[in-house]
């Protein structure tokens, strides 16, 4: 008997949320992105899917623009750009839009943005409604563990999130209810107050439509 939770598909949409939540350091004394501030960096993602011998790997750069959204540019295995905003998620493959998940159509996307906003402003209470938070701090290094309060909730198919960093986030692991997991590593993060490139601006504008 085949059975499938289509929501599983959107699970990873939530990984973005997890990611964003963890881009902003979990400790109180660290920076919160102000409007117009930009956080740039590089990432490497390993997606472990049960039944696949090797993880699906991808790498590239990301740009988080406070108040507007996140641009996730994958360069390997091939060029893909994913933009997430209040309005939903848009994905381009080789410069052509292939996926558009409007928040108006997928309620889950809006939930994501509610929490996205909360994470950006450093308001962890929104996270606490869905996860139990455990923080640890050792000198400069910190780590946080988020355990889902409702692991069966089809709207939030994340079992746990583990994040660690020093000044900024270094690595995050997102575990799904079926034990599939993503491990994301971050490098060379820079907090900027420079204007966006024309291309970035175009991406965000289009995604916000």
């Amino acid at each position: 008997m085949e059975s499938l939770k289509p929501n599983g598909l959107f699970a990873a949409a939530l990984l973005c949320f997890a990611l964003l939540a963890s881009v902003v350091p979990a400790t109180a004394q660290t920076v919160t992105l102000a409007d117009g501030q930009i956080l740039r960096g590089q990432f490497e993602q390993k997606r472990y899917l049960s039944g696949l011998a090797n993880p699906v790997r991808s790498s590239g750069t990301f740009t988080l623009v406070a108040g507007r959204g996140l641009i996730w540019t994958t360069t390997k295995p091939f060029p893909t750009t994913t933009v997430m905003t209040e309005a939903g998620l848009v994905q381009d493959v080789k410069g052509k839009e292939t996926v558009r998940l409007a928040a108006s159509r997928l309620p889950i996307m809006s939930k994501l943005y509610t929490m996205f906003g909360a994470a950006l402003t450093g308001n962890w209470e929104a996270m606490q409604s869905a996860f139990a938070l455990t923080r640890q701090q050792k000198g400069q290094a910190w780590s946080i563990r988020l355990d889902s309060l409702r692991p069966d909730d089809p709207n939030l198919p994340i079992k746990a999130i583990n994040a660690r960093g020093q000044k900024l986030l270094d690595e995050v692991e997102v575990v799904k209810p079926n034990d599939d997991r993503d491990v994301l590593s971050f490098f060379n993060q820079k907090l900027e107050r420079a204007p966006l490139t024309a291309e970035e601006d175009e991406f965000l504008t289009r995604a916000q439509r």
Binding site: N7, A13, G51, T114
Partner: protein
């Protein structure tokens, strides 16, 4: 019989409230198009059951808590199903369970286009991007059953109506600068047009709203047919009770003033009472339910039923010690002729295929017959046989008044009166404006309309009533027809002609389309590109489980009830609805589908308005026909000249009333036309009484006629005070017409 009818009434009201409040119950049964009619009925029935309440508060948690309380209160009435059922978190899961086994034939419109355009490679790359990308992930189970991720794409592109709301923990939420808004979507389990249901529901919401006091209380907005119906019914009942009170009080005063005795009053009230009881119970026996508007019109019967009693009671004024039997014999031809004409006149109403008018026809015909029989059988028995002391004086006054039409010294005034009537006709005729716009005839409750606008502004929710009706031999053919027009709908959407559309075929493709899709998928995707994709993913070919060749039948999808929208779009096998949202130019849509067989554009309000227009024409034709028949009847009895004389008051009333109404700024609507049909039967009473009366009883006849006219003005005329334009127009027509005919009545006397 009267007792039986009374008993039946008590039983009917005791068993269930038989009063109906929906406008549709008043409307035509036989539209020109039965499919359209059925569609309208089914749609309004399912739409009418839905309602929403929006709870808004600055504070999100307050809004949630209040919304939850209200939901519990509403569910507690037992009248509504679980609130937010269609938006439960596992809705998507239900859809997935329905569609997944049939995925081989399911493609989103864009994916199908891509495959038709030989762009399979792009779909494969999209799948890889999704698997590797951050936004969309797929677990291995999904990949093994749907490696190109076409199924999620299909699911996400189902054309669900879009709103600005998002689902949060089982509640539909929108946040804006004014705070948090929570929408409670509910569906009534019972008839929304049952007065008891309306009262129970509205009082639950009102009670809850009243319990929220203080400056920090949330704002509630409501939207739904049940609220509009309740407001309309409340208004109609309030109005009909004070209008009926006014009418009854006036009639009693009239009787007391003229007959000066308790017995004539009781006798006449008996006539009226029997008329109303007989009419209402006959109506309930035939129709089981009576519309409140019929009740409103039914109060008019009070005035007409009184005619017969008045006429008989007035005969007591004649001197000469005649027995009641003799007096009855004298006026019997007039009474009988009047009843005959009235029943024929109301019978004409029954020809109009409006259930409401049929109810009025039955109500009136049976009620009047009851009043007639009471007058003929009972009043002579209850008679005191005494000539009232004031009889001579009263009759003298009547005689003096009736001289107006004979006396030489009144000639100038007579001419002035006639010139005045002619002037009204001449000035008003050119200003008659035909308008049957339903929205103007029965305006919706203003505060509810404002709440509707507020809800629409916050949520983007739009109650659509315009749609395309698809008629075909079978569901499969209907689905194919929808697939043929899908590109046109897409173009309409692009050009802004419509904002969105929902078609059954978009949820369940035709079997032919599913077969095509399966073939496309195999030839353009699986065959050339699967190996490559699996290599990229590191999956073994044998790990892939092929999608079963399993087609989704529309009937199965309907039975699953996984998608309540779909169930509302399929009315019957082969009879489907494609809803259209945000139609900007209805006439362009009509033009574009003009050549398509089995596809019709339906705009219920506009259709109803044009239908009313059509029936207005028919009512006027009916009136002309009645005039011809009545003239022939009158000519046979009174000769052509006598007939012209007898009909003069009625003709003058029919000419003056609509022109005067036009001068007052009222359009000539279907309801005015129906009032004119009734006007003919009212005024014919006066003509017949006068024409049948002997010279020596003329004062008595005139007394009865003028009392009848006054009673009609008191009953129907008071409807002119109604705040519903349709009802006011109706009342004013009768008021003006009866006044004119009453003044002219002596002219009809031989």
């Amino acid at each position: 019989m009267v007792l039986a009818a009374g008993g039946f009434l008590v039983f009917s009201f005791h068993r269930a409230n038989p009063l109906r409040t929906d406008l549709t119950a008043l409307l035509p049964l036989e539209l020109q198009d039965p499919a359209r009619q059925k569609a309208n009925e089914l749609i309004s029935r399912s739409l009418a059951r839905r309602f929403v309440v929006l709870v808004s508060h600055k504070d999100g948690s307050q809004a949630r808590a209040r919304a939850a309380e209200l939901a519990t209160a509403l569910e507690g009435t037992g009248l509504v199903g679980p609130i937010g059922e269609d938006f439960s978190p596992d809705q998507l899961k239900k859809l997935g369970t329905l569609y997944f086994p049939h995925r081989v034939g399911l493609l989103s419109p864009a994916d199908r286009e891509a495959l038709l355009a030989d762009q399979g490679q792009e779909l494969a790359e999209r799948a890889l991007a999704q698997i590797a990308g951050p936004g969309v992930g797929a677990d291995a189970r999904l990949l093994k059953t749907d490696p190109f991720l076409l199924f999620p794409s299909f699911l996400l592109n189902l054309p669900f109506p879009t709103t600005r709301l998002a689902l949060e923990d089982g509640m539909l939420v929108r946040r804006d600068e004014n705070g948090t808004h929570i929408l409670l979507p509910a569906k009534l389990l019972v008839d929304p047009f049952d007065l008891k249901v309306q009262e129970a529901l509205v009082s639950t919401v009102n009670r809850y709203e009243a319990s929220l006091t203080g400056p920090d209380s949330p704002a509630l907005h409501r939207l739904g047919a049940v609220f509009f119906a309740e407001a309309g019914a409340r208004k109609a009942i309030d109005e009909s009770s004070w209008l009926a009170g006014l009418s009854l009080a006036g009639t009693i005063l009239l009787i007391l003033l003229v007959f000066r005795g308790l017995r004539p009053l009781l006798n006449n009230l008996l006539v009226i009472g029997v008329g109303v009881v007989a009419g209402l119970s006959a109506c309930l026996l035939v129709f089981e339910q009576v519309h409140v508007a019929v009740l409103l019109f039914g109060i008019g019967l009070v005035g007409i039923a009184a005619d017969y009693g008045f006429y008989y009671t007035a005969t007591a004024f004649s001197a000469g010690g005649k027995t009641p039997g003799e007096r009855l014999t004298e006026i019997l031809p007039g009474l009988t002729m009047a009843l005959l004409i009235a029943v024929l006149g109301y019978g004409a109403l029954a020809l109009a295929p409006f259930p409401g008018l049929r109810q009025i026809a039955v109500f009136s015909a049976v009620g009047l017959t009851g009043a007639y029989l009471t007058t003929v059988l009972w009043l002579p028995l209850a008679d005191t046989r005494k000539v009232p002391a004031h009889a001579l004086k009263t009759l003298g006054t009547v005689l003096w008044l009736s001289r107006f039409w004979i006396a030489r010294r009144w000639r100038a005034l007579r001419l002035a009166f006639c010139a005045g009537l002619l002037l009204i006709v001449a000035a008003g005729l050119w200003r008659i404006d035909f308008d049957d716009d339903l929205r103007k005839l029965q305006p919706l409750d203003a505060s509810l309309s404002a709440e509707q606008a507020a809800i629409a502004a916050v949520t983007g929710l739009n109650l659509t009533t315009q749609y395309l009706l698809i008629e075909a031999e079978s569901d499969e053919e209907a689905l194919q027809a929808e697939e043929r027009i899908a590109p046109m709908l897409g173009a309409w959407q692009q050009s802004g002609l419509i904002r969105a559309a929902q078609s059954p075929a978009a949820y369940v493709p035709s079997l032919t389309r599913q077969e095509e899709n399966a073939k496309l998928r195999h030839e353009k995707l699986t065959e050339p590109l699967l190996t490559e994709l699996l290599e990229a993913l590191g999956l073994q070919a044998d790990a892939i489980s092929a999608a079963p060749e399993n087609q989704l039948e529309l009937a199965a999808a309907l039975d699953s009830r996984a998608n309540s929208f779909l169930n509302e779009l399929v009315l019957a096998p082969g009879l489907h609805v494609v809803t259209l949202q945000g139609v900007s130019h209805p006439e362009r849509i009509r033009r574009e589908i003009a050549g398509l067989a089995g596809v019709k554009f339906v705009d219920p309000t506009a259709d109803l308005s044009s239908l009313l227009g059509l029936y207005r024409l028919r009512a006027l034709a009916l009136l002309a026909l009645s005039l011809v028949v009545i003239f022939a009847l009158a000519a046979w009895r009174y000769g052509p000249r006598g007939a012209a004389r007898a009909l003069a008051p009625s003709l003058a009333a029919l000419a003056v009333a609509p022109c005067a109404l036009a001068l007052l700024g009222y359009p000539l609507t279907f309801f005015t036309a129906m009032a004119m049909v009734l006007l003919l039967s009212f005024t014919m009473d006066y003509s017949v009484f006068c024409a049948e009366a002997k010279r020596e009883t003329r004062p008595i006849t005139l007394l009865a006629v003028w009392m009848a006219a006054l009673a009609t003005i008191l009953s129907f005329g008071v409807l002119g005070l109604s705040s519903t334009p349709a009802v006011a127009g109706f009342g004013l027509t009768v008021l003006i017409g009866v006044a004119v005919a009453g003044l002219l009545a002596p002219v009809a006397a031989r």
